[in-house]
Each structure stands twice: as C-alpha cells, then as structure tokens.
Amino acid sequence: MNDAIAISSLTKRYGDKLTLDSVDLVVPEGSIFGFLGANGAGKTTTLRLLTGMARSTGGSVRVLGQDVASAGNPVRSEIGFLPDVPAFYDWMTAQEFLLFAGRLFHLGNALLRERIELLLDLAGLNDTTARIGEYSRGMKQRLGIAQALINAPRLLLLDEPTSALDPMGRRDVLDMILSLRGRTTVFFSTHILGDVERVCDTVAILDHGRIVAGGPIDELKKRYGKQKVVIQVTDGADALAHSIERCDWATSVTRGAHGEIEVAVLDVEAARHQIPAMVTAQGTGLVLMEAGEMDLEDVFVELVEGAKS
C-alpha cells in the first residue's frame, strides 16, 4: 500500500518557538487517520504544512508521493482541505461557492452540478438560498466539508471538522467520513477522542510538537493500555494521591473532574490490596474503588501527562 502522507523529521519554528519538533509520520493510503493533540499541540501547523500554506523549517513533507513545497497544483488537485475555521466569501450562496470551488478543479458543468446537488444534500444546505454571511458556524463548517469533497479527493485533510457542530451534525460528519473508507484517505485532527475511536483505524498523538505515540488504535491500547483504578474517598484525596504516586505499581495519577483519583497501574492486584490499606491508614473513608481497562482517552491522558512529567 502506498503512503498518502509521509512526513520525515518535520520541524517548524516560529521565531524562538518550536512548534513541531522532528515529526515523523506515515499515513497509509485508504486509511482514516486521527491526528490527536491538545489545543496548541501543533495540529493546525502540521495541516498547513501538508497543504503548502506554510513552509517547514526542516524535514520533508510528501503528499500522495509528491513534495508539497514544489509540486504545487498537481498535488492540490487531489486534495480536499477544511481549515479549522473555514472562511468563505460572505456575499456568495453555498451553491455559488461550490460552483467556484469546482471550477478551480476544472470540473465539467454536468459533473459539477451533479456533485453540488449531492454535497448540498449531505451538508443539509439544499433548502437555503441565504448568503453565506448569514450562516451559523455549524452551517459554515458543513459547507466547508462539502467544498473539501467537491473534487472527490484522494486525500481529505480536515482540521477539527466536528468542533463547531451540534451532536446531530457531528454524527452526520462522522458517518460521512466512515462512508469514505477505502476510497479516500482521511486525515483529521481533533481533540475529541470519542470521534476518533468511532471512525479512525489509525492515530498519532501529538504533544508539544512531538509525536508521542502512533499506530492502529487497538495496538495502541495494547501497548499503552494499562489497567486503571478509579478511587473516590470521603476526604484527603490529595494526600492519598501523593501516597499512591510513590508506589511502584502506579505509573500515573490524575484527578478527575469530580475529585476522583485515576491511577494507571502496572499491577492491578497490588493496587486492589494496598489502596484500601492506605485509605484506612489515612483515617478517611473509601467511597468508590473500580478497576478497568484504559480507553483511548486514558491512553491519551497517560501519554500527554507522562510527557509533561
């Protein structure tokens, strides 16, 4: 299988700030690839480098077998791109913008009209004649996805495609991405891990400009997916968390949104035995203790938090 994207030692620096640090990444053709990272991790910069909108400080970027910096129009003819915040000509209607976009790809009128009808339907915009300037953020996002598909691209690059959408819109976009499986390579950046688990077969996790993990989701879970223990105590959670951190079976300790302690563990049996004893020694009460498998979100937090410490 050919590589749709091959990034090697990619570095991007803005002044003193190192945004991408020797990134290596391969996206096989036909895959649905999730590019995960927290805000500011360097996802948008990577996408801009992939589309030739920015220039790398070092390393190489090959898209569909061609060097992005020098290939120009031939490579862009086979790409569909949705930026993080798509901006349109406000005075156009959705149909006019799709017509404009399709003509830039030199599509014939008959094919273009057929595709526009299909894409407007997909974007749920076939009933509106309003100008784009009157659209909501969600409508613009859906139009952005439609315009990225106008040329039936071999490679679809989506920067946070579901971020501005309501739950129904998100479901539709994810279904649309799933429907492209096998025909189009989809590379999409996101920080919504549920979306990735639903549609992607392969992921890479970017943290502070570095790839900290990558591969098929199942393999990633196996490789990094230790078991976890979730604990809730009546009080003294901070002291307990500190005590657990010192145990050699605990690889990371994080605090949940509701005060619970999440511990990634190497030896779940040791944790099961020792944690209640530690709680008792502290003189507090144990409200909850659950052991389970880590999901992608846990793997992501583990890797990103691990990289910080």
Binding site: R48, T51, G52, M53, A54, R55, G72, N73, P74, R76, S77, I79, F81, P83, V85, P86, A87, F88, Y89, W91, M92, F100, A101, R103, L104, F105, H106, G144, Q147, N151
Partner: protein, 254 residues
Amino acid sequence: MNGYLVFARKEVQEIVRTWRIWVLPAIVLFFAVSGPFIARYTPEIVGAVAGAQLGHLDLPTPSYLDAYGSWIKNLSQVTLFAIIIIYGGIVSSEVRNGTVLLVLSKPLSRGAFVAVKVVVNCVFVAALLCVGTLLTWALTLAIFGKAQAGPLWSAAAIWLVLAILYVAIMTLLSVAIGSATGAAGAGIGVFALLSIAAIWKPLSDYSPAGLPGRAASLAAHTATSFVLWPVLSSLVASVVLVAIAVVVFRGKEL
C-alpha cells in the same frame, strides 16, 4: 475553465456584489458630473462668495479646458487617494479573513491569485475612467458648446498609467505589510514622495513622478514635454512591483 478565468470571474462578481461597486464609481462619477458645471460657473460662484471684496477684478472667462483640468486634478488627488485606501487590502483582506486558505488549497497558484487581482482591478479602474471621461466630455460639450476630445483622452490615458502604478504599489504593500490600514498609510507616504520627487526635473522627466504634471499639461492643451519616459518607467515599475509582490506572497505563511 482555466483557473485564472475562474478566479477573475469571482473578482468581478465581488466588485459588482459588494461595497466596491459603490465607492470608487461614486467618487469618479461625482467628479465627472460636477467638474464641467463647477468649471463653467466658477466666476459666478467666486463672485457670489467674495461679493464686494472682489472689487473690479475680472475673472477669466472659463473654457472647456478648465473642465478638463478640473477632471484630471480630481483624478490625481482624491481618486488616487481613494485607490490607495481601497487597495490597501487588495491581498491582505483575504489573508486576514481566511478566505485565502480555501482558494489556495485548490489548484490556483499564489502568482495567479495576485496577478488576477491586479489585472481585474486595473480593468475596473480603466472602465471607470472611460465612463467618467466620456461623461465629462459630453457634459463639457453640452455646457461650453465646444470640447476638443484629444486633450482630455490623452490626459486620461496618462492618468490611467499612474493609476495602474498605484494599484501595483498597493498590491506590493498589501502583501508585504499585511494590514490594509498600514498599507494605505505607506501608500500615502509613497504618494507624498512622488509628489516631492516631481519637483526635481530629471526625476520628473524620466520617472513616474512626472506623470501627474504631464496629465495636467495635456488636459490644459499646453506644451507638454516628452511623455514617453515617465509612461515607460511607470509601466515597467508596475510590472516589477507586481512581480516582487508575487515573490513575497509565495514566501508568506498563510
């Protein structure tokens, strides 16, 4: 359809369907219509305003050449200022609002993006100039009963070269500075420098600095020194400035 033509069509539609169809045409048409009337009735206007203060001073009888002079003066001052301000964002406005990302991620080169904008807007200015000049000429003929076309059209042609130069200057400034206001400020600075440069005869004779003076002389039908060098140097400078703008834009992070 060729990518250049597709983008050119979008530029034309944008001019027609946004505020841009109103501002520059309104300025040009206002001066085209008001110029001949103001030229014809200047003695009466001055007389009414100055009253007895004018004493027995006789103002010269206005001629159609005064209307032509007024038209070219307005083009060389207010209209040129409007061009500087409007085209300060010729490229940067699309970069700042993000529309450039959806356009340039498709098969349209950055060079084509800049070149098409320059060409379409120069054609737009030329079309406005033609309409305005035709209107000035027709009104002048109606008001004064005589209006030789040659001086007016040759002066307008010289001004068009100047306008093309300013569109090119503003394109480069818009690409390089990235802010429409900043580019407009720099454009006014260039306007001031060229006006000062026109005082020095060698620069006036051989550089774009001599164009406004040549246009005014042609409109007044007075002896005009050689126009070839200012015209030629302006056209060459325009091409060079746009080429530099393309090179700078190619190196820009979007």
